[in-house]
């Protein structure tokens, strides 16, 4: 079995694979909407059938109180062979605003080599890619050189609230030497890239009170504290004029990039006009002396995600607001810890808060940053597989987001590598989500090559 065998398999199977993916995409498995709970269940069943038909065994649904994840494995390589766990998800994002879709989100259509549907790229298409690679190899070889496990989650789009618990509970069955995640993208079809980190996340819900109730701005205005102003000053003092976070100790654990990491980032092409257009902004703003990719991938941030105080309706009300709510979300990079950042933030807040205000803070969530060790043999094997298929050595990129990957790596104690074939223009989470079919076909070959290559991961 080699490249040719796999790409030949893909060529012969395109119609069947596309038909099967289209069927799956008609199921509106929106995990955020309780009205679609039945659909998420149906999607899990569909996925389980796909795995079974591909030759994967022990297929069942796992759940830790939430929506079912689908598990399946093929363990015929024996205990001396490496074990690979493939992670993806079968739930999808909501579809609002529906009127911006050019075709109904759950009636997939192919246009210009692209498949349009909610979930096409995020993440049913990429899960299909992994299942079809296994099917192709098992069909050609009758066996695999590694033990292969699948964990296809059903709650990724709502923050994977039960995943850590599930991983913890089923740690033995899910154990692996390497975890392959297919739920990410590369920068362009001719620019293979692989993610090597995701940022951590810890958020703070700050409540401010300066008076028993809102006060009349005529009678009291000018001599009583104003909660909106306290919140605004806190938010405004969160960054200095270089857009660096002012919380003492915030950057303490952040290490500078290695030469190899910096070089890979510097080699990544960047089109500022296109980037601004995609974001819908006039200009980029961020930490001084850092490039946009450095800022989103390698640097921690503290964003004000909400600030609400006083009157917000039409016209005006003449009050001095008594309360304010300020929400701040910090994205962390290796080797920051959520606990240390939380402690630093709370300390900063208590120092910043004026004596006339009652300020309380609730910490929300807490996801640690993930960094794939780029000198791990699995990374080299992934790069070789991608280079064979796309013709170029992939660059390393860093995801600014915070996903379930950190929990996978931490709880299962294995490196996480990313084979993602989505593209920036795939409209993740937005109307008109799409999948470039050529990426899917190439991805199946690459995923198959990766499985073959990973047989050597234990020897390195």
């Amino acid at each position: 079995v080699d490249d040719l065998t796999l790409s030949d398999y893909v060529k012969r199977s395109k119609d069947r694979i596309l038909g099967s993916l289209v069927d799956w995409l008609t199921i509106p498995s929106i995990s955020a909407d309780p009205a679609h709970a039945g659909d998420v269940g149906a999607s899990a069943e569909f996925c389980a059938d796909l795995l079974r038909s591909a030759g994967i065994q022990n297929v069942e649904t796992l759940s830790a109180g939430g929506v079912p994840a689908v598990y399946g494995d093929w363990l015929g390589a024996g205990s001396m062979a490496p074990t690979v766990l493939v992670y993806g998800h079968h739930d999808v994002q909501p579809v609002d605003p529906l009127d911006e879709w050019t075709s109904p989100p759950f009636e997939p259509v192919v246009e210009g080599g692209r498949l349009l549907a909610r979930g096409a790229s995020d993440d049913k298409g990429q899960v299909m890619m992994q299942i079809e690679a296994a099917r192709g190899l098992l069909g050609a070889l009758g066996h695999l050189p590694v033990n292969l496990k699948f964990l296809i989650e059903g709650e990724e789009e709502v923050g994977s609230p039960h995943l850590d618990e599930l991983l913890d509970k089923d740690r033995g069955r899910l154990a692996a030497d390497v975890i392959v995640v297919s739920d990410s993208n590369m920068l362009a079809p001719d620019l293979p890239t692989t993610t090597i980190s995701t940022r951590g996340l810890v958020a703070f819900d700050v409540t401010i009170r300066t008076a028993k109730s809102d006060l009349h701005s005529g009678i009291w205005g000018g001599t009583v504290p104003n909660a909106a102003l306290v919140a605004a000053r806190l938010a405004a003092s969160l960054h200095d004029s270089d857009h660096r976070v002012t919380v003492p100790g915030f950057y303490q654990r952040v290490r500078e990039l290695t030469r190899q990491e910096a070089q890979s980032l510097a080699d990544t092409p960047f089109d500022e006009i296109e980037f601004c257009r995609q974001a819908g902004v006039k200009e980029l703003v961020g930490e001084a002396g850092r490039s946009p990719y450095e800022r989103t991938g390698t640097r921690p941030t503290a964003e004000v995600v909400g600030l609400h105080s006083g009157y917000g309706g039409p016209g005006m009300k003449t009050i001095v607001p008594a309360t304010a709510n300020l929400k701040i979300a910090a994205r962390l990079v290796p080797e920051q810890s959520t606990e240390e950042v939380e402690a630093s933030f709370c300390q900063w807040l208590s120092e910043q808060a004026p004596s006339y205000a009652e300020v309380s803070v609730k910490t929300v969530g807490g996801v640690a940053p993930l960094l794939t060790p780029i000198d791990h043999p699995a990374v080299r094997i992934l790069c070789e597989a991608m280079e064979n298929v796309w013709g170029k050595k992939p660059l390393f990129t860093r995801s600014g987001g915070s996903g379930p990957e950190e929990g996978l790596g931490r709880i299962l104690e294995a490196p996480v590598i990313f084979l993602g074939v989505g593209l920036p223009e795939d409209n993740y989470h937005a109307p008109n989500e799409r999948l470039e079919l050529e990426q899917l076909w190439k991805g199946i070959t690459a995923a198959g090559e990766l499985v073959l290559g990973l047989r050597a991961v234990k020897d390195n």
Copy 2:
């Protein structure tokens, strides 16, 4: 007719006056609530009947598109005598939160010498005071030494939206040499005070946009502009560390107090602990080097009355907000003009707004500040009447609020003087509004004395 005659009249009439006021207070004339439009009309009729029965003539309702105001006059003093216009209002504030009332707001009860009901002090009780003074004088003398006009508005509690138009339209009929407003308070029952100014008001509704839509804080956070932060920085930069407004030119027209004004303010007793308790705040905050009464009465302010951006619900959402709304209300003092302050604010805003944000501003309202010239003979006559009744020369206070008085003085081109007998603990606009009956009885005598004294206002 002298003090004794008037106070004897009050003594004889207490039961009747109280009974009549109680009847009026059972009418829930809440102008803010369209469901009570009929009640506001009934209250106007009740007021008209009161005026007629007191001997006031030409009673009718005036309206400029809104809820009816009640007009009445007694013009028997002849064209050589001065004309006095009494202003008050018969509409009342809403009653929420209803469960904090110790008795139903429209079922008046007398407890410990106080009448509890919505409108008891603001303003039906004070209007009753003026009508009963006229009734007492007309009963004793058969005539008055001045021409007396009443204008009792029905929309004061919703910002007098039609008053200026009404004044303008009926300028001839409403013409007066002095305007007496009874819709204010004194600092304590043993501390007679009279208001000599109200602040102006101009407000700004600022809209900020930094992106086409909210952005994912993982993917974009750290390198795109944040509308919440832009709003917070604008709000935070509105004052310097001395709590002075930073808008260039904001204080340009503000003149320092005269020696007499400053002395009167310095003589006004101030209990900071009680003041904080009434406001429900831990500490007072405001312009450095100014006392609380200076800040609320004699200094302009710019208060953030609302700031809303991004996610405000429970928990967290990981977005970079694309839009923000910032509402700022400025209170002005003589001789600031709303137009100049508006121009200064807009200039400041355009200079502060970063290039990556679209910032637009809508000016809301515009009330000029009012200052009664304290050397006007009407002020001396008012002070004598109050000293006769309360036994002390009244101090001059300045109201921080912005009322219809400015329009009265400006359009009718007459000085506005304030005979107000409310007290700070009367719970204006709050649950358990009340009127100290002793203040009402004294107020009737003082109002009668004032009418008698004002016969001399033209000669001075």
